[in-house]
Amino acid sequence: MVVLRAGLCPGLTEDMIQLLRANGIRTVVDFVSSDLEDVAQKCSLSYKALVAVRRVLLAQFSAFPANGADLYEELKGSTAILPTGSPSLDQLLDSGLYTGEVTELMGAPGSGKTQVCLGIAASVSLGLKQHVLFLDSTGGFTASRLHQMLQARTEDEEEQARQVLGRLRLCFVLQLEALQRIQVVRVFNIYELLSALQELRDHLSQQVVSSMGPLKVVLLDSVSAVIYPLLGGRQSEGLALMMQLSRELKTLAREFSLAVVVTNQVTRDSSSGSLKPALGRSWSFVPSTRVLLESKEATWDKATTQRAATLAKSPRQPTGFQVELDIG
């Protein structure tokens, strides 16, 4: 629904726009769907000029059809599968996180969503040496825990090194570099989040290499914390903003080949008493893959680091598949 404006394309002058508007043609859609001979007669404009303008507008504003074979080739070239750092989770996700898609982790409080996100950040930053963007909306990002995870991983990898002193220094340097590749942005309401995503888009499209190197993963912890205050009641603004956010995330994932991971809460279904993901049906269409994290024990007095991950929605694997995770 773009309004016709002077300078939108060569040949579309201000006078033309005024004449068209006098006849009820305000937007691009009105223009390309009207009968141009009719318009030429009513507005006393040249038919050839109108046809030229229509051609340019169509080229600028319509979507191009692509055939399946081309799409497949393009996907094969641009999609990467990123390891999450936990072999059982990789198995659940069909060998890892796919770029170009939105993956969702959901669970009750204390089920380990932030821990899994930190694990993904550590594994991608250390193992693949790619940059990671962590959008934190709950204040749960603890750099010391991330450091702990990185330490555990570098010690595994450097077992082959001979000199003890050299190995310690190498581990330390690797950890520092890995920490520098993870950028953390704290966003506590929806507008800040949308600004941060817009900024990311500007950075990536201008290919500013300064701080944001080859970015591969965007983690958003958690999406329900910023959207919950807006949903419900008589105002529908919350739903509109949620859909705007989902569009931003999906286009970012597709255009720049990123893997987007979001975490979500679960709420209790009032009728059946079972747990279901928060944010309702509208949001359930946004992520392509959904994983439910649960604690193995039913009550909170028995402490454990074991978690169960169940696949709730996936385009590639049968759902209901369950694996065990250790977040310790």
């Binding site: 629904m1 773009v2 309004v3 404006r5 937007t27 009750a108 409080p109 204390g110 821990q115 950040a121 962590f134 709950t138 204040g139 749960g140 603890t142 750099a143 010391s144 825990r145 450091h147 520092l176 920490l179 520098q180 590749r181 993870i182 953390v184 942005v185 704290r186 966003v187 506590f188 309401n189 507008y191 800040e192 600004s195 941060a196 817009q198 900024e199 500007d202 950075h203 701080s211 958690s222 329900s224 914390a225 919950y228 205050p229 807006l230 949903l231 419900g232 529908s236 603004e237 509109a240 705007q244 931003e248 809460q265 709420t267 209790r268 039913a298 009550t299 909170w300 007095d301 402490a303």
Partner: protein
């Protein structure tokens, strides 16, 4: 400048009109100007000017950030955050076992929630923390002030006097044992009157007052920049009775949680909330769970559940981003929150066995 109109913080009615008129990006809005805008969508010129000001602010914020300035965004690398965390202090609780499982004490810039059955010691712990936040830095504290928001009316000043006196006594003992000059100098300002005058007390009677108080809190904290602790004693109480619309309650609570995390982050202070317990009736048994529902569980970063086991008080760390789940025993004396003596008693959850704590208490009662 290619920010979509839908993502700008404008009023919903205005946004609907802009979408109907065909505006898509912020750049188009700025190009049209206030007069053109007021004509196109049928609003007054003042409203158009206001809207354009908001748009310009957002876009300038974006441009400044893209150019490399940090300004208002809270953006940094994990390495910088790690350095920040390592220099940040903790608020100790005087119970070393509890401090251990929390990773050093109550963390600044995070929301900690304390849940428990009635009488288990939540308000006692809050009062202890309000005193402990003021411990000078040379003794290992953060030397800050405290804000205490009370909704249940359980704040007893006499009790705070007892706790503060014991704390000052403790610090005096340390200073005498170590004989250092700066310790003694710090003790001159750490007196009972000082401690009491640095606890700012607010009383809120219902949820409207509580929401208003939290809304006004950033201004208060801007004036009193030394505040390092905000305690809300009884966040469940105003929201649990007489609330008909449950979805409104969820919305308000989530909005409150977001405001609190912004306060915790911007002013580098710890936010401590206390919550009540409720019973969840399952298929075969019923369990005690924290009140206010599932979605509230996500609001707090750290969750501590206090409960009874026969006559022993236990604390369980249920949710934490950096520490493992574990349970310890604690004790409340006339001096405040303390460890269970002797500290070698680790298996206090074995009820029917002879617990050294139980014997002396029954003898005292008989006396």
């Amino acid at each position: 400048m290619q920010r979509e109109v839908g993502t700008l913080p404008l009023a919903p009615a205005l946004r609907a009109r802009l979408a109907a008129a065909g505006f898509q990006t912020a750049q188009e809005l700025l190009d049209t100007g206030p007069c053109g805008l007021s004509k196109e969508i049928g609003i007054s010129r003042e409203e158009a000017l206001e809207a354009l000001q908001v748009v310009r602010q957002e876009c300038h914020g974006d441009a400044a950030r893209t150019a490399g300035g940090s300004g208002a965004t809270r953006k940094c690398t994990a390495l910088e955050l790690l350095e920040e965390e390592q220099t940040q202090g903790f608020i100790i609780t005087f119970c070393s076992a509890l401090d251990n499982i929390l990773g050093g004490g109550v963390q600044l810039t995070k929301i900690t929630e304390i849940c428990g059955a009635p009488g288990v010691g939540k308000t006692q712990l809050c009062m202890q923390l309000a005193v402990d936040v003021q411990i000078p830095e040379c003794f290992g504290g953060v030397a800050g002030e405290a804000v205490f928001i009370d909704t249940e009316g359980s704040f007893m000043v006499d009790r705070v006097v007892d706790i503060a006196a014991a704390c000052v006594q403790h610090c005096h003992l340390i200073a005498e044992a170590q004989q250092e000059e700066d310790l003694r100098k710090a003790l001159e300002t750490f007196s009972l009157e000082n401690i009491l005058s640095h606890i700012y007390y607010f009383r809120c009677r219902d949820y409207t007052e509580l929401l208003a108080q939290v809304y006004l809190l950033p201004e208060f904290l801007a004036e009193h920049s030394k505040v390092r602790l905000v305690v809300i004693d009884g966040i469940a109480f105003p929201f649990r009775h007489d609330f008909e619309d449950l979805s409104l309650r969820t919305r308000l609570l989530n909005g409150l949680a977001q405001q609190l995390i912004i306060i915790a982050n911007d002013h580098k202070s710890a936010v401590v909330l206390t919550n009540q317990m409720t019973t969840r009736i399952g298929q075969s048994q019923s369990t005690l769970v924290p009140a206010l529902g599932e979605s509230w569980g996500h609001a707090a970063t750290v969750r501590l559940i206090l409960h009874w086991d026969n006559s022993q008080r236990l604390a369980t760390l249920y949710k934490s981003p950096s520490q493992k789940e574990s349970t310890i025993a604690y004790h409340i004396t006339s001096h405040g929150f303390r460890d269970v003596q002797p500290p070698a008693v680790t298996h206090s959850t074995e009820g029917p066995e002879l617990n050294p704590r139980k014997r002396p208490r029954t003898e005292e009662e008989k006396q």
